[in-house]
């Protein structure tokens, strides 16, 4: 009588996407944030195009990290406050479905839009054009990992009010490898090296994250919910 796993997953993703549409502009938020960062940095540094171009990759990747991080503290919060997570837990469906569904919809609403608008930011920051494809590839391989790891931390802190910065503290160290390899790939390309090694590492991290993090997220959700 109960729905199968695939159906449940679909229903949950459907809900997330519908909510993202309803809460108008939520989709646009990480984008706006990155836009502002790319605007603020030139202002703070003074517009030396060469200097700017040299640090463009850094700005875009650090910006993306921070943008994703900022979405995390709200990722499960409202579901917890209105009792929806509690209901999911009592539903008997495996929590790992919740974790997978939310990771996926989170990427769709943050990583993907960032990826799509990156060419614009890059040209704004005078990034040399031949680096664009590598940058995009690094984002394609890196942002899913950000969503997957971010979900663990969001789940761990779901029982804590005002968790914004705790989330940052917990998640950014875990994001360091992604950042290193992603920026490393583009910098290697810029220095005339092959970016392949870095990209392969990114892919490896993504695969590992995809297989392991949902379990951690599910466990974290169960534990956090039973804490009060």
């Amino acid at each position: 009588m109960r729905a199968g796993s695939a159906q449940v997953l679909m229903a949950m993703i459907w809900r997330d996407l519908r909510l993202a549409m309803r809460r108008r502009g939520q989709l646009a938020h990480p984008l706006l944030f990155l836009t502002l960062i790319t605007v603020l940095f030139p202002l703070a540094l003074g517009p030396d195009p060469k200097q700017l171009g040299a640090i463009a990759v850094g700005i875009i990747w650090v910006g993306a990290l921070v943008a994703v991080t900022m979405t995390l503290s709200d990722l499960y919060r409202s579901d917890r406050d209105d009792g929806w997570l509690e209901q999911l837990m009592v539903s008997g469906h495996p929590m790992v479905l919740v974790a997978i569904g939310r990771s996926f919809s989170h990427w769709l609403t943050t990583g993907l839009p960032l990826l799509l608008l990156t060419p614009l930011f890059a040209s704004f920051l005078n990034m040399p054009e031949q680096l664009l494809s590598t940058l995009l590839l690094s984002l394609l391989l890196g942002t899913p990992t950000l969503s997957l790891i971010g979900n663990i931390v969001a789940a761990l802190t779901v029982g804590i009010g005002r968790s914004g910065f705790l989330v940052g503290l917990l998640v950014l160290p875990l994001y360091v490898p992604v950042l290193l390899f992603a920026a490393g790939a583009v910098n290697a390309q810029a220095g005339g090296l092959s970016p392949d090694a870095h990209l392969l590492m990114l892919a490896a991290i993504a695969t590992l994250a995809a297989t392991l993090t949902p379990w951690a997220t599910a466990a974290a959700l169960r534990t956090s919910l039973s804490s009060n």
Binding site: N187, G191, G192, S194, A197, M201, A203, T207, L208, A210
Partner: protein, 153 residues
């Protein structure tokens, strides 16, 4: 197979596949060079970037260190026993900096006005190996090696 058993099997399988795939990717990745780190030979062959800062590592050539009298400027040659590149630096050198010592220099290549590229270092760091021993032991080792006709690396 009961549904729970089948689910468990699926879970274990997917984790094994995922971990395996990840390891393969890592193995491939580690085969490639991932760093901005060049030896003098590579620099001489023109493999190093021109506008970007990178690191160069090697040994300080014996007798090549020239210090300026009125400033902290210093010039020396760096070798990997194949090629030699001249390095210019202005600043305080680390204690371990001496002739015959391994160092890592961070900086850019300058090709202006010289036929051989000169490395303008913004930072010179000493890289020592992982060997620790008392000076007497080092001397003794030196002598026995010399007796056997080897040179210290």
């Amino acid at each position: 197979m009961t549904p729970t058993r089948r689910r468990r099997l699926l879970i274990v399988l997917s984790i094994i596949v995922g971990a395996g795939l990840a390891t393969t990717l890592v193995v491939f990745a580690l085969k490639e060079n991932m760093l901005f780190f060049y030896r003098p030979a590579e620099v001489a062959q023109g493999l190093a970037p021109v506008d970007t800062a990178f690191r160069m590592g090697g040994m300080v050539v014996d007798g090549s260190v020239v210090r300026a009298d009125d400033s902290l400027a210093v010039q020396f040659d760096l070798t990997d026993y194949q090629e030699t590149i001249t390095v210019q630096y202005e600043g305080i050198l680390p204690d371990l900096f001496r002739e015959g010592q391994g160092i890592i220099a961070q900086g850019k290549l300058s090709t202006q006005g010289v036929e051989r590229p000169v490395f303008e270092a913004s930072e010179v760091l000493a890289k020592h190996d992982e060997t620790y021993m008392p000076p007497e032991v080092a001397d003794a080792l030196e002598q026995s090696k010399a007796a056997r006709g080897e040179t210290t690396p």
